[in-house]
Every structure is written in C-alpha cells, then in structure tokens.
C-alpha cells in the first residue's frame, strides 16, 4: 500500500509538471485578486477637489488658513488635493468626472470667520456612490474640525469639545489587513483546484479502470492524490507567498508568524483538497474544475471577513464557524496581533474541520469496501 501511495504521489507530481497550463491557471487568480482587491484599497484616499475661491479678491488670513488646512496631509484620509480654478473650469471638471466635488468659498468668508459668524461653504458633489459621498462629506467635516481645533480651540479663542484618540493597536493599512484573508483564500483555492485537477486526471487519461482493478488501488489512489495535492499546493504556496511578500508588502513578525502560517496550511489545505479530489474524480474533466472551485473559494472568503473584520459583518454568528473565517481570524492574530480573543476558538474550529475531513476519508473508504463486498457477494451468487 505504501509503495502504491508513493507511486501515486510521484505520478501526480509528474502530471502537474507536464501540464504547465494548469499551474498557470492556479497561480493567476490569486495574483489577479491581489491586484484588484488590494490594489483598490491601496490606491484610494487622495482626492482631487476643485476649489473656486470667490473670496480671493479680498485676501483674508482666515481664508488662507482654511485653504492650508484643506491641503494638509495629516489626520484622517481622504486627503484633498485642491485644484484652484475658475467657476467654468470647475464645472467642466465636474461634468467630465475629473473631480468628485467642487468647493465654493463664498465672498467675504474670511471676514465672516473673523467676525465670529462664518458664512457657509458650498460643496457640489456627485452622490452616485455612497462611499465616495461619505468620503466627500466626512472629509470636509474632518478638515473643518482641524481648522476649528487648530485656530480656535487650541488657541483658547472659544470653548468647545475636541477628540483625544488612543489607538489600542498599531497602525495597519486596510490593504495589509486584507492580505491575511487573501493568504487563507489561496490555501483553500489551491487545495480545491489542485485536488480537483489530480482527481480528474484518471478519467481524462482513461486509466481509471486499471486503478479499480488493482488490489487496494482506489484507496492508494485517493490517499496518494490527496497527499500529492497538499504537497503541490505547498510548493505553489511558497511561490505565491514570495509574490505576496515582494509585490504586496506582506511581512511575517518573526519565525512564530511563519509557524502559524504553516499551521494554517496544514489544517486548511488538506481540509479542502480531499473534497477537491473527490469532485475531480466525479467529473473526470479538468475543464469543469476551475470555475466551481473559484466560485466556492471566493464565496467562502467573502463571507468570512475578507474585507472587514468578521465580527462587524453580516451573518458573523454563523459564518464564524467556517474554516475560512477561523483561518482568517487566526492568521490576523498571528500576523497583525488583531482579534486575540477569537484566536483560541478559531483554532479549535479548524481542528474540528480537519477531523471532519479525516472522518470523510475513512467513511468513504468504508463505504467503498462495503460496496465492493456487496458486489463480490452478488458475483459469487
């Protein structure tokens, strides 16, 4: 049996190295996901805003101060890049979607601030996208807060309330935070896809019948493909992890971080590669493997806290028991020290899923044996 399993693993690895297109299909989606998801969140935050200063003809120190605050790159994003322009150009920019918002500073604004009764500013903006609208509205509120704080409250010119923030954790860009989810998704995706490809290869090659004829052939084939899927996924994960590190800025906090990452791989990839192998064996055609695997893995990833912490996402009471959600929580804790309170329970959930897959494996073997025994009895009769 041991020899058969090793032979199966060697055969699977040879299949993989010969079918480079499949390897390409496997590596492409994670990189695309990274570029799309992480790229989007890495590149937002600085917004062009057209500024029409109708108060320019009566220079005022308060208007100048306000414009300085508008341009500052401290505090919370979005940071505005003001484009000072005339009314007509501002309107054209707005119409041609070259800016999301036009800020109109009214004539006499500076003097009105000086007099303690500020005139209202006007912001014309596009409200077609809720997130952009929110950023325009809150971005302006944040700059007004900064302006009032800097020049009035901190200067003791008036009473008021300010915020004194204390962050419980170190800074962590959202794009970096999302990488934990992407790394977990990669493990799941590889498990399903590689497993599916290896599972399908016998039917594709017409060799399934030889395996069924050999003594213990089906058991060795299933076990060998499962182990091979894990091994091949591991090698590919090393390559992808290097890409994540060098292209998308992932960093591991020491050897312990790498250890946790490896543990997640050991628990997650086998959990998904066995169902992948079984599916591949069932359909027997690699062309039917990638699409469902991509859909299943991305679905699991999205509902497991891919973009936002799970505890603040819809359906978290149920989704926290998914292996993907548990994996993301453990890895977020290991890499970024976020969500320590969920790590222990999540690890238990992962172990339970792993045990479940082992049960599935032995259950399938038992079922096949019973089926063969029944067939043998029938044949003897």
């Amino acid at each position: 049996m041991k020899t058969q399993v090793f032979a199966e693993i060697a055969k699977s690895v040879r299949y993989w190295t010969k079918h480079k297109l499949i390897a390409l299909v496997s590596v492409f989606p994670p990189l695309l996901i990274c570029l799309l998801f992480v790229g989007v969140f890495q590149t937002t935050g600085i917004v062009n805003i057209a500024v029409v200063n109708r108060d320019a003809e009566t220079p005022s120190v308060w208007t100048e101060r306000f414009l300085e605050v508008l341009e500052t790159r401290t505090g919370t994003i979005p940071y505005f890049t003001p484009v000072f322009t005339d009314e007509q150009t501002a309107q054209t920019m707005f119409d041609m979607h070259e800016t999301f918002a036009v800020l109109y500073i009214p004539e006499g604004f500076g003097q009105s601030v000086e007099d303690g009764d500020p005139l209202s500013l006007t912001v014309k903006f596009t409200a077609a996208h809720e997130d952009i609208s929110k950023n325009v509205r809150l971005g302006m509120e944040a700059r007004i807060y900064d302006f009032v704080k800097l020049y009035q409250l901190d200067a003791g010119a008036r009473p008021g309330v300010t915020v004194e923030e204390n962050l419980a954790n170190a800074s962590l860009p959202r794009a970096s935070y999302m990488m934990a989810g992407i790394m977990i998704w990669t493990m799941v995706f590889f498990g399903l896809l590689v497993g599916g490809a290896l599972g399908a290869m016998e039917k594709e090659g017409g060799t399934q019948v030889y395996i069924q004829m050999a003594s213990g052939g089906e058991t060795a084939s299933l076990l060998g493909k499962w182990l091979a899927a894990v091994a091949i996924s591991g090698v590919m994960l090393v390559f992808l992890t290097l890409c994540y590190v060098f292209l998308f800025g992932v960093s591991f906090p020491g050897a312990a971080g790498v250890g946790w990452y490896a543990l997640m791989f050991i628990l997650l990839t086998p959990t998904f590669s066995l169902p992948g192998v079984l599916y591949g064996m069932k359909v027997g055609d690699f062309r039917l493997v990638p699409a469902p695997m991509i859909i299943i893995s991305i679905t699991l990833w999205l509902v497991s806290g891919a973009l936002n912490p799970l505890e603040f996402s819809a359906g978290s009471a149920v989704f926290q028991y998914l292996p993907t959600a548990a994996g993301i929580r453990v890895l977020s804790y290991a890499l970024f020290n976020r969500g320590a309170q969920f790590a222990g329970k999540s690890l238990l959930i992962l172990c339970a899923w792993f045990a479940g897959v082992l049960l599935l494996f032995f259950g399938r073997l038992a079922a096949r044996r019973r089926k063969h025994a029944a067939l043998g009895t029938q044949a003897a009769r």
């Binding site: 937002t44 014309k124 009473p159 309330v161 419980a168 603040f312 819809a314 309170q341 969920f342």
Partner: protein
C-alpha cells in the same frame, strides 16, 4: 443565426455559464459589499450633565447622506464598556467627562477621550471622521456663558438627493457587466463551437465569411438581451433596483454589444475551444469591470490601477452607463468623448476579429 440560437437554447451548460457568474456577483456584491459600516461604540457618561447628554445624542443620531446611522451607540457604565471593548463587541470606547457644561461655561476646551480598537486604518479613519462630524455638530452654535459660538459649515449640494445607497451603484455596474459579458460569451460560444466541432471546415467553403460572422453577432445579441433582461429582473426582485433611464437601456445595450464583440471573437478564434475561451472571456470581462469602476468609480483610483483604468476602453463605457443609469443622464461632453473612445475601440476590434477569424478558419 437561427442555428446558433437553437444551439444555445439546447445547451443548458452554456446558458448556466452565461448567467451564473452574473447572478453570483450580483447576489454576493449586494449582500456582502453593499453594507455601510455602522460602527458599534460604547459611550460612558461620567455624569448626567446636559451638555454631555447632548453630545451623546449627537453621536447616536448622526447619519450619512443616505440615512445610515454612523454609530451603533450603547450607553454603559465604565466597567461594562471596558469589558465590551476588550471582548471585541464594540470598536470604540467614548468617555464623556463629568462637568462638561461648567467647563464650557468657563471657556475651556474639553478633550473627549476615545479608545479605538484599531482593527485597520480604514475603520479607524471612519471612526475618527464620524467623531469629528459629531463634535462639529456639537461645537456649532455652542452657547457657553452668554455667548454663542459658530463654526464654518458646509451646504452639500449633490447631483441627486438623498445620496444613493451603494447597492444602487453595484446594481447599475453589474447590469453594465451583464451587457458586455453576456454578449462576449455568446460570441465566444458561437465561434469557438465551430472550431471545436470541426464545422468550421464547412463554413470556410462559403464564398464570404462576413455574413457568417454577422449572423453569429445577431444571434449573440439576442442571447445577450435575454441574459441582460434576466439580470435586470433579478435586481428588480432581489434589490428593488430599476434604472433611472429605462428607455435608454436598449441603446446602451447595443453600444455594449458593438464594443465588446470584437475582442471576444478574437479570443474565441485563437483559443478554439468553448470552455477555455469562455473562461478567458469571463476573466477579462470581470477584471475589466472591476478596474473600470465595478465597485467604485475608477476616478477614485491612483497609481498603476488608475493607469490601467485609463487605458482600458471599457472604463469609458461603464463611466457613462453607470452614471446615466443612476442619475438619468450625463453631460453631453462626457457622453460624446466616451462614445468616441469606445466606438473607436469597437470599430478597430471588429475588423481585426474578422481578419483573425478568417485566418484561423483557413488554417484548420
């Protein structure tokens, strides 16, 4: 054309490939990406001072332009609030100090301490901005002693009111994707099938291949129309969405078919197999949709992604389509420019597709 349509209707696998990805994207984007974060926060009032109560009300009551509450505020005693914060049940802990009215009457600036579980910088940014919004609201018109203090305020004038919820944007963009992707896939299946089934050898015998391709394009248009109407109905039923310019949708649809058919025909002619070509066309369409503003307007990107978006002609289709669908129309200048860009792309790709198809067909 009729043969291609019959073929499509007889093959559930092809129909599923055309509809399933759009349905999945629509349902998942709608259910999981369209939610505005409402941030859970624990507020500790050190006393029942009137100013403190007003500030707590401001925190609990402020809403976004589309009517979503910024905070899910819970008033707690200090120990309970701390316990909730440490258990990860709330994202932030706001402590409003005692004697706020008196301090303000004394002309003081009072700092309100907040502790934020900095899960990631984006959530923290949202938290802080919302706090600042609430404090602006509190500081505006603040009466302390005998004086009333004002701060600059903003009149927000949007092109639509109230601000549209994110789900509407996603529905519009997915409908645009339905137009481009379903027509691309239909063209791909119609062409790749001829190569796969070896019927291309018979087609090559015809004196002119242009009518053959034209027939396939017509068949693809009908198929794509069916899929697009299906997705439109699904969005109507599940999310209550319908375009603001229903009458103009057919025009946009035909524009989308013209724009997207050429590239799909090239891919199908080169790959020659239905499933791989279909998957490739799907990937190109979904990635193009994403980059072009599927989830957020591409004008919001910077860096490499912005460059890709600017170079990808699909961006200009989505920009006009989404805005016109949500707002009822766009400026004439934008419509003309984008029509020219996408029209030029389509006009280049269709003859190129014909040339590639003829070359590949003759080589078989």
């Amino acid at each position: 054309m009729i043969a291609d349509l019959k073929m499509w209707f007889r093959q559930p696998k092809l129909i599923i490939m055309s509809v399933a990805p759009l349905l999945i994207i629509s349902i998942f984007a709608g259910l999981f990406l369209a939610k505005t974060e409402i941030l859970p926060v624990a507020i500790v009032l050190e006393d029942q001072d009137p100013a403190a109560l007003r500030l707590a009300d401001d925190l609990a009551g402020l809403k976004s332009g589309s009517g979503v509450t910024w905070f899910l505020a819970q008033e707690d005693d200090a120990a309970t609030a701390r316990a909730k914060f440490e258990a990860g049940e709330v994202l932030g802990l706001v402590t409003i100090p005692a004697g706020l009215t008196q301090a303000l009457n004394d002309g003081q600036t009072v700092a309100v301490p907040i502790t934020i579980n900095n899960i990631n910088d984006d959530v923290t940014k949202n938290f802080l901005q919302r706090m600042q919004n609430a404090l602006n609201s509190f500081n505006e018109g603040l009466t302390a002693g005998d004086a009333t203090y004002r701060i600059p305020r903003v009149d927000f004038v949007a092109d639509v009111s109230p601000d549209l919820p994110l789900i509407r944007y996603l529905c519009a963009s997915i409908l645009g994707l339905a137009m481009l992707m379903s027509s691309s896939l239909a063209v791909t299946f119609a062409i790749a099938r001829e190569f796969e089934d070896r019927t291309i050898k018979e087609l090559v015998m015809t004196p002119r291949l242009a009518p053959v391709l034209g027939g396939k394009l017509l068949s693809a248009t009908v198929q794509a129309l069916i899929v697009t109407v299906f997705i439109l109905l699904e969005e109507r039923l599940v999310f209550g969405f319908s375009p603001d310019n229903l009458a103009a949708q057919l025009g946009f649809f035909l524009w989308g078919v013209f724009f997207s058919a050429g590239l799909a025909a090239v891919i199908a002619s080169v790959v020659k197999q239905t499933l791989p070509a279909g998957i490739l066309v799907m990937v190109v369409n979904i990635a193009g949709w994403w980059v072009a503003g599927g989830l957020a307007p591409s004008e919001a990107w910077t860096g490499l992604l912005r460059t890709i978006a600017d170079l990808w002609p699909g961006t200009y289709f989505y920009q006009v389509y989404i805005n016109a669908t949500l707002l009822g129309g766009v400026s004439g200048g934008l419509a003309l420019r984008n029509l020219l860009i996408t029209g030029a792309a389509g006009a280049v790709m269709l003859p190129a597709a014909y040339a590639v198809f003829v070359r590949e067909a003759r080589e078989v």
